[in-house]
């Protein structure tokens, strides 16, 4: 394991503190743990909180700020934060308009956020939440945990955040957040695994000529492994899976080409070249494209494609002002 760190025990803390020191005008850290809130609390709006394990930087702390989140809670690397951390975050940002939690669909995240909500509700705070589950790699089923929440979650932060900023009430913000959840799909792949600092070695091994398809964002193995192929073939494989899941034909979409952490922008642009052609051929109109590291897996090389089906309401909210460390619009 080769990392620019001091000690595996302090990775999360030093990272959060280092982030806050970089953007003191945007964010501050609560004393009680790795919980980041806006530098200037905004009253009179629904407060948005999200979070999860660390290792997905800039998610989620990078999305705290005007037009997006009010609070991000960071657990240990790839481990959901604990209920008391989340509860402290909720207490710090709660307004009389209530709190919306944006939770990625992982057993741990869901349970910890639920427990925190129970604690906050006992204090009289109204809390609602959405569970993002955009990853089409895994089959959805009533009898399983369902799908994972991955990069598409960033669209929920952006759009629900913009809605909250308008002063809309909790039900409205929740409705819009759920609309994004219902309309966004993601599929990813990896060229290399990543290493959780405390574990000291990669989550899986891949041969020089192998790639992992259907990868999540926690360094866990994907759905299957195959011989590496050309960028165009890989893009086609991922997009085939996405467009088979919900009907995008004739729709306008926002595209996110999300790097996993160690993927050079060069490769993401090469992928986008094909993504653009693929969608255009299918009659899917691209409204806006986002290329970069939005929801990473530490230093994994790989990427995911997210497609968000848009309507006029979502377009307006997607374009609305956002001023956060990692997302400006």
């Amino acid at each position: 394991m080769k990392k620019l760190i001091n000690s595996v025990d302090n990775v999360e803390q030093e990272m959060i503190v280092g982030m806050v020191k970089a953007y003191p005008n945007h964010v501050r850290k609560l004393d009680c743990g790795n919980v980041v809130v806006r530098a200037h609390k905004k009253e009179g709006k629904v407060a948005l909180i999200s979070g999860g394990g660390s290792g997905h930087e800039p998610a989620h702390g990078g999305y705290v700020g005007e037009g997006m989140l009010d609070c991000a809670v960071a657990g240990a690397v790839f481990t959901s934060p604990t209920p008391d951390q989340i509860y402290e975050g909720i207490k710090a940002i709660a307004t009389d308009k209530g709190v919306l939690m944006v939770v990625k669909n992982y057993t741990g995240d869901v349970m910890n956020f639920e427990m925190a909500a129970e604690m906050a509700e006992a204090d009289g705070v109204s809390v609602k939440y959405v569970v993002t589950n955009d990853d089409v790699a895994v089959k959805d089923s009533l009898y399983t945990t369902g799908r994972r929440g991955v990069a598409g979650t960033v669209f929920v932060h952006k759009i629900a955040g913009a809605k909250a900023e308008t002063g809309a009430d909790l039900d409205e913000v929740h409705r819009v957040a759920q609309k994004v959840v219902d309309n966004v799909r993601t599929m990813g792949m990896a060229l290399t695994p990543c290493t959780v600092p405390a574990a000291g070695k990669p989550g899986f091994e891949l041969g020089e000529d192998e790639m992992e398809i259907g990868i999540g964002i926690h360094g866990e193995p994907g759905t299957h492994r195959e011989k590496i192929r050309s960028a165009d073939e890989i893009v086609t494989m991922l997009l085939d899976k996405i467009v088979a899941d919900i009907d995008y034909s004739g729709k306008e979409v926002a595209v996110m080409v999300n790097g996993s952490g160690a993927t050079p922008l060069m490769e993401l642009f090469i992928a986008n070249n094909k993504i653009h052609d693929y969608l255009t051929e299918k009659g899917i109109k691209i409204y806006k494209t986002f290329v970069g590291n939005y929801m990473t897996s530490i230093e994994m090389a790989g990427f995911s494609i997210s497609l968000l089906r848009l309507d006029d309401e979502l377009k307006e909210l997607l374009d609305a002002k956002a001023d956060t460390p990692a997302f400006k619009a």
Binding site: A76, T82, P83, M111, T145, R148, V196, A198, G216, H224
Partner: protein, 207 residues
């Protein structure tokens, strides 16, 4: 069967075993999860350890509840709320006793398991810690009811938990992270079932 002090000793020993098996548990989670189960449990029990000193003299219910709350607030992930809820529920069920017998243990373990089922919305056969815990509880109950020998019952419980671990190798996960792997989870044992069995083994060895 056992008193508050002994419960504290057992919990300490569980913590030590978790530290020792940390890499093994993590490795198991690496294969079908996200490679942190050992790290998570070790982090939690390190905090539990710190709390244990202050708990001597407390009743068993309070001890277990404190352990549960500590796990909830330090472990994170799926196992944090699950084990946390389990210990808290067990503590509530056993109550303010300073001595407990086999019957109390069974009542506590039943509460723990239904807490896990409630929190995790899972059942037996989904490749989780429940696949060690439920067969173990059934074996303990049956044997204890028939022979009234708790030590013997617990030994059978551990055997059942070990069989449960073996069973998790033969099924596809439908809960937790391993469920994302589909068929690929076959052939691998569940980390949470393994840590659950480890706890039962420690209890068995100390009673």
């Amino acid at each position: 069967m056992t008193d508050s002090n002994k419960v504290i000793e057992i919990l300490k020993q569980i913590g030590e075993q978790i530290q020792m098996e940390k890499d093994f548990l993590t490795e198991l989670d690496n294969v079908i999860g996200d490679g942190d189960h050992g790290i998570n449990m070790a982090r939690g029990f390190k905090e539990v350890e710190k709390k244990l000193a202050d708990l001597s003299g407390k009743d068993i219910g309070s001890i277990l509840k404190t352990v549960g709350m500590t796990l909830v607030s330090t472990v994170g992930g799926a196992s944090g709320p699950l084990y946390g809820t389990a210990f808290m529920r067990a503590g509530s069920a056993i109550g303010a006793k300073t001595e407990m017998d086999g019957g109390d243990f069974i009542i506590g373990m039943e509460a723990a398991i239904s807490g896990i089922e409630m929190r995790g919305k899972a059942h037996e056969g989904e490749k989780t810690m429940l696949d060690a815990l439920i067969p173990a509880l059934n074996a303990i109950k049956k044997s204890y009811e028939e022979n009234n020998d708790f030590k013997a019952a617990l030994t059978l419980g551990v055997e059942a938990a070990e069989k449960g671990i073996e069973y998790t190798k033969t099924i596809i996960a439908t809960k937790g992270r391993a469920s994302y792997l589909g068929e690929r989870s076959l052939g691998h044992q569940d980390p949470g079932a393994t840590s659950a069995c480890l706890m039962l083994k420690v209890i068995n060895s100390m009673i």
